[in-house]
Amino acid sequence: MSNESQQVVLKHEAGSGTPLTLRNVSVVYKTRKGDVRAVRDVSLDLRAGESIALIGESGSGKTTLGLSIVRLLVKSAQVTHGEIIYRRNGKEIDVLGLSKKELREFRWKECSMVFQSALNAFNPVIRIWDQMRDTAQSHGWKDKKAIRQRSLELLKFVQLDAERVIDAYPHELSGGMRQRVLIALSLLLDPQVLILDEPTTALDILTQRTIIDLLRKLKEEQHFTMIFISHDLAIAAELADRIATMYAGRVVEVGSADDIFYRPRHPYTLGLIRAVPKVVGDFQELFSIPGSPPDLINMPSGCKFHPRCPYATDKCRQEEPDLVTVGPEHMAACWHWQEVEKELQSKPLHSIS
């Protein structure tokens, strides 16, 4: 099966430059209890062909950030600050200024998102084919045959038995198959950027592996520009070129995958890495991060991580640190990142030499 699918070649044109730039984006949910500051002042550049992972515990604002890029936030949410700029072929688009109609195009042709909950949100009475046809037709594709051709190709690309799956109802497919259909669907109009929210969560290990390998193929063969959102560090380690750690709505560290995993400078990133066990290799001790994630309505003062941080000092309690450069292409928002560096010199993180 895998041999056959390798012959399928998508004609995806890798973009160039920086397809997506977020500048100081902040998102607030208005709730009865108060304003939930789910995303605070996030700036990120996404380069063409690169894959970036947003990691952090649940509630850290990852999904909210993803939804704000495709402008699918719920009504109670509001982007209070910032800019989202999308580029393709030298043209710049101000995403936050797009009209409803433009957004529909944008979401399929430029920047599409595979939602976490969508796995169960398939309309149960609509066949996969109808779903794909409707989507294509609503974007002006007329030629049914061409649509079917493209759909089959995509389903094959995601290593499904395309002829069978295309006429199936969602409930006839397993979780992993549905996830692959969703990925195929998101590729239908050949977007430049792909955002995947928890693409493997709730799937079994062997199924997770097929999804990861598929996504790696999209990345390495097709050079899609991708954003992975996951609370699971392993997905980031497997797929990301760069990683951004989020905590309490903020990006607190961003760097290459190797930097983040072997040379983290933010105590929270370090804490996460030390909390996650590996399967192969010898026993390794794990450490948990004390305390629990902050309440996003009444956040602590200063650095939002200070109540849980072993390095915290008075300064941390009073002033919130900004992202500073801690290495080449590597930034962290911590007053004491140098101490983290020192500690890692005595206890390096490399598991295999």
Partner: protein
């Protein structure tokens, strides 16, 4: 004599065309103070096995022995003792506590009912002690809380404290940490390990996460389940470092690793099929045979292969591969998977 022993236990659900064998001829024994980890993908029968061990579900066939006694043949008093000795911690922190009760009620009621405390004051005191054991301190802050006022991790701790009211010797932890955040997971696991060290509690630790199993049961044993059967078991070190059953190998190779270098160097095992057979229509012989890369026609799809002991420790249900070790990490970084 083992504390708990399962002898050829099977459990079916449903009738006629709907009949599934959720647990098929499972046997294992757990000694006092030991940890046994049951791992496998969802739907393979882990929870069903756990419930049978905890006496919450009756096996369709086979025996459950507690302290060497068949629980189906116990008199009332012995069964009561068994009942109190075995407790279960559930996976979902949002479903395992009654939303209408305070932490105080959840913990003092079993204490009073089973005369572990003779008065309300004594129950209160003991409840505080138990909350401290599970690291919910200061305990008084938690006594009046309802479940919705607690975080997932705190709820799981309350579940454990509640289980401890009856001073169990054995705890079935069914995915007990799967739904809590990674940063908190380790402290929960460490708390459970402490119960094992300090109170000599025996554990059946159920998880789909091999990395967790390895961490929690490093000194113990792992049993790997696939579609209702145990396909491999043995000391954790052996199973993790030198897996023999092709399914165990596939699982270990497939687990995404939280380490880019490892992720690059981990060996890929290609399966012949990505589909998990339905319990309603299981393949004959070894149920892994349609997916197994080492499939040998006539052997693998004939008789159900029995679990056979291997000299390195434990048992393997694969006549083809039981004596063959494989390397899970490539010496040099693998070329990018294409």
């Amino acid at each position: 004599m083992s504390l708990i022993e399962l002898k050829n236990v099977s459990r079916t659900f449903g009738k006629g065309d709907e009949r599934v064998v959720a647990v098929d001829n499972v046997s294992f024994a757990i000694d006092e103070g030991e940890v046994l980890c049951l791992v496998g993908e969802s739907g393979c029968g882990k929870s069903t096995t756990g419930k049978i061990v905890a006496g919450l579900l009756e096996p369709t066939r086979g025996q459950v022995l507690f302290d060497g006694q068949d629980i189906a043949k116990m008199d009332k008093e012995s069964f009561r003792r068994y009942r109190h000795s075995v407790q279960i911690i559930h996976q979902d922190p949002y479903a395992s506590l009654n939303p209408t009760q305070t932490v105080r009620q959840m913990i003092t009621r079993p204490l009073l009912r089973h005369h572990k405390a003779r008065s309300n004051e004594e129950a209160e005191k003991r409840a505080v002690e138990l909350l401290e054991i599970v690291d919910l301190t200061p305990a008084q802050d938690f006594m009046n809380k309802y479940p919705h006022q607690l975080s997932g991790g705190q709820r799981q701790r309350v579940s454990v404290a509640r289980a401890l009211t009856v001073e169990p010797r054995f705890i079935v932890a069914d995915e007990a940490v799967s739904m809590v955040d990674v940063s908190i997971r380790v402290s929960l696991l460490n708390m459970l390990s402490r119960l094992q060290d300090e109170f000599n509690v025996t554990f059946l630790f159920i998880t789909h996460d091999l990395a967790l199993a390895k961490y929690f049961a490093w000194e113990g044993r792992i049993s790997v389940m696939y579609l209702g059967r145990i396909v491999e078991d043995g000391p954790t070190r052996r199973v993790v470092m030198d897996p023999r059953h092709p399914y165990t190998q596939a699982l270990l190779a497939a687990v995404p690793e939280a380490d880019p270098e490892l992720a690059r160097r981990k060996r890929r095992i290609e399966l012949r099929s990505a589909d998990i057979p339905s319990l309603l229509d299981l393949p004959s012989g070894c149920t892994f045979n349609p997916r197994c890369p080492y499939f040998v026609a006539g052997v693998c799809d004939g008789e159900v292969p029995p679990l056979v002991a291997i000299p390195e420790g434990g048992r393997v249900a694969c006549p083809i591969r039981k004596d063959v070790s494989i390397q899970l990490i490539e010496e040099t970084p693998a070329a990018p998977a294409a």
